[in-house]
């Protein structure tokens, strides 16, 4: 049982003066302190959060309208620029960096009365699938502290399940919201590419990066998404939002929903117990009236190879800005500017950032560009066409979020390729730009299994409506 009411209820209670925002902030900070051993959080914003809460309580007492998230505490992954503490992206190279402006997503949440209480741990620069790449040390899985929470938004996923706050924000470039949701047992949402502004979020791979919530329920996710969604002049890749609110979900039952089981996701490499859990969920959806068919996307097994060309290429470009001259860590041990760049980056970046920057440099370099980068972007077109064809015949696609449940800390850390393979079922949604959600489907040996649902681009509202129905229907 969660200590938090549904977000809509909390906001109504704060607005009515029945609950004080300051009490909610204190409750959240206290829980963060009590659950410190899981290391989901790398900084708390005690002073700014308390002072915002006091002012919101005052406004509520004066009868002013605060907003749809009045007094709701939340936790942001530490790659969001937020006032009141450092923004590090869990990397040594950004230690000491204080944001001069806030992310658009944070501004929009605050405008509706939400209060950021803490920054969540992540794999440094969001590079990873386990949160073990954090320069602050790993986060532990709430269900078993000897296991990983998934990554890269592992701190955010663990925070929601540890009940630290009503919701958390994550970023998803290849599965970084959905994987922790799956491993921790939360709802994790990756919207259509461009639906939520990325202004003020530390860039990783710009043609893939998305922002979304991690929550306990689909309804909470829909409300948070609704507040954040829409065009932003500060991010020219943002798209128009739906005129209708995303949180007003269709009440229609599952009858008539046409769902395609992705054949390639149910094949080799999928853990048997995870498969059984997903198949049980499918049976339950069918029992509730959904029309279930099998769908094949033949190029899907190539998605991870495409991702591990495109992603490092964009990483190498985006991370060139960390040069030790304008912000962040800068070494004193250098004789000239070039040495200052190289030594700062040697000391400031962890192994995975170096790995991705250099792989990216390789695939973009003269002589290899056509063979790797151009080829990957062309296979990406093939994937897009296969998804488009699939969405001609079905409304939604379904599969597991990850091939296994949460693995042991340390298990994959020395084998980068094995770690990359964890993302095999999530990367395609980013390459194709479609929305995708992970919802809890049950547990195997006490560890959560995530069910992944996908829809065509800009069908976010339909996907959330389906997920809310599925959430009601699926049980152990």
């Amino acid at each position: 049982m969660s200590q938090w009411q549904p977000i809509k209820v909390i906001a109504r209670q704060v607005q009515a003066g029945e609950v004080s925002a300051l009490d909610l902030v204190e409750q959240s900070l206290r829980t963060i302190h009590d659950k410190d051993e899981f290391h989901a959080i790398i900084a708390t914003l005690d002073d700014t959060a308390r002072s915002r809460a006091r002012s919101l309580d005052e406004r509520a007492a004066n009868g002013e309208r605060i907003g749809r998230l009045a007094g709701v505490p939340f936790i942001a992954k530490d790659n969001f620029l937020v006032f009141g503490t450092e923004t590090t992206a869990a990397s040594n190279i950004l230690k000491g960096f204080n944001a001069p402006y806030q992310a658009t997503a944070i501004e929009r949440l605050e405008a509706e009365g939400a209060i950021c209480v803490a920054k969540a741990n992540l794999d440094a620069f969001a590079h990873g699938s386990s949160t073990e790449n954090s320069d602050f040390g790993p986060t532990k899985n709430p269900h078993d502290p000897t296991r990983v929470p998934g990554g890269s938004s592992g701190g955010s996923g663990a925070a929601v399940v540890l009940d630290l706050a009503p919701f958390a924000l994550g970023t998803d470039t290849g599965g970084s919201i959905r994987l922790p949701a799956s491993f921790c047992g939360a709802v994790g949402y990756k919207p259509t590419y461009g639906l939520v502004s990325r202004s003020g979020v530390v860039a990783m791979a710009s043609s893939l990066d998305t922002i979304g919530p991690l929550t306990r329920t689909v309804q909470d996710t829909a409300l948070v998404l609704d507040v954040m969604a829409g065009r932003d002049p500060l991010d020219s890749t943002t798209i128009e939002r739906d005129a209708e609110t995303y949180s007003n979900l269709d009440a229609a039952d599952l009858k008539g929903a046409k769902i395609g089981i992705v054949k390639e996701y149910m094949g080799e490499g999928l853990d048997d117990a995870v498969r059984q859990t997903i198949e049980r969920s499918i049976d339950q959806l069918r029992g509730a009236g959904a029309e279930i068919v099998e769908v094949s996307l033949p190029s899907l097994p190539l998605a991870l190879a495409v991702y591990y060309v495109v992603c490092p290429a964009e990483v190498s470009s985006n991370l060139s800005r960390y040069d030790g001259q304008r912000y962040g860590f800068s070494t004193d041990d250098a004789q000239n500017l070039d040495e200052s760049f190289s030594r700062t980056r040697e000391i400031g970046f962890g192994a995975e950032a170096k790995r991705r920057i250099m792989i990216g440099t390789y695939v973009l370099s003269s002589g290899y560009y056509d063979a790797y980068y151009n080829k990957a972007q062309t296979v990406r077109t093939k994937l897009i066409q296969e998804f488009a064809a699939a969405f001609e015949s079905v409304d939604f696609l379904l599969g597991p979020t990850a091939p296994t449940t949460a693995f042991k800390l340390g298990q994959n850390i020395d084998d980068p390729l094995a770690m990359y393979l964890i993302d095999i079922m999530t990367v395609a949604a980013n390459l194709v730009g479609v929305p995708s959600i992970s919802i809890p489907a049950g547990t195997v040996d006490g560890l959560p299994v995530g069910l992944q649902l996908l829809a065509a681009q800009k069908h976010d509202r339909a996907l959330l409506s389906l997920a809310a129905q599925a959430e009601e229907t699926i049980h152990e």
């Binding site: 043609s207 040069d323 800068s330 040697e346 790995r355 062309t378 990406r380």
Partner: protein
């Protein structure tokens, strides 16, 4: 299968402006060969008639008005994060020699 040499890795490190110690060079040489070996499966994929995709929602040339706008922070706010400042300028080490 793609196999990188230590010299290849050192060249990449130079291009990416990252110094590496010997142990790192050894380790990355091995890891990069494995990662690129996995990626090599793209080589045989038939993509005839297809164009590469870099923007998935179809947006093109999103323009804004060419006018000054205020973003709520001042040059001084940005300079606070700069490691070495002199007379409101970012100070860097010498570039030549």
């Amino acid at each position: 299968m793609t196999k990188l040499s230590k010299d290849d890795v050192l060249k990449l490190a130079r291009l990416a402006r990252i110094s590496l110690d010997d142990e790192e060079v050894e380790r990355y040489t091995e890891e990069f060969s494995a990662i690129l070996g996995y990626v090599d499966q793209l080589e045989s994929v038939d993509v005839s008639g297809l164009e590469p995709t870099s923007q998935v929602t179809g947006l093109t040339n999103v323009m804004r008005d060419d006018t000054a706008a205020s973003y709520g922070y001042e040059p001084q706010d940005l300079l606070k994060n700069v490691p070495h400042v002199q007379k409101d300028q970012i100070k860097v080490r010498r570039m030549i020699g």
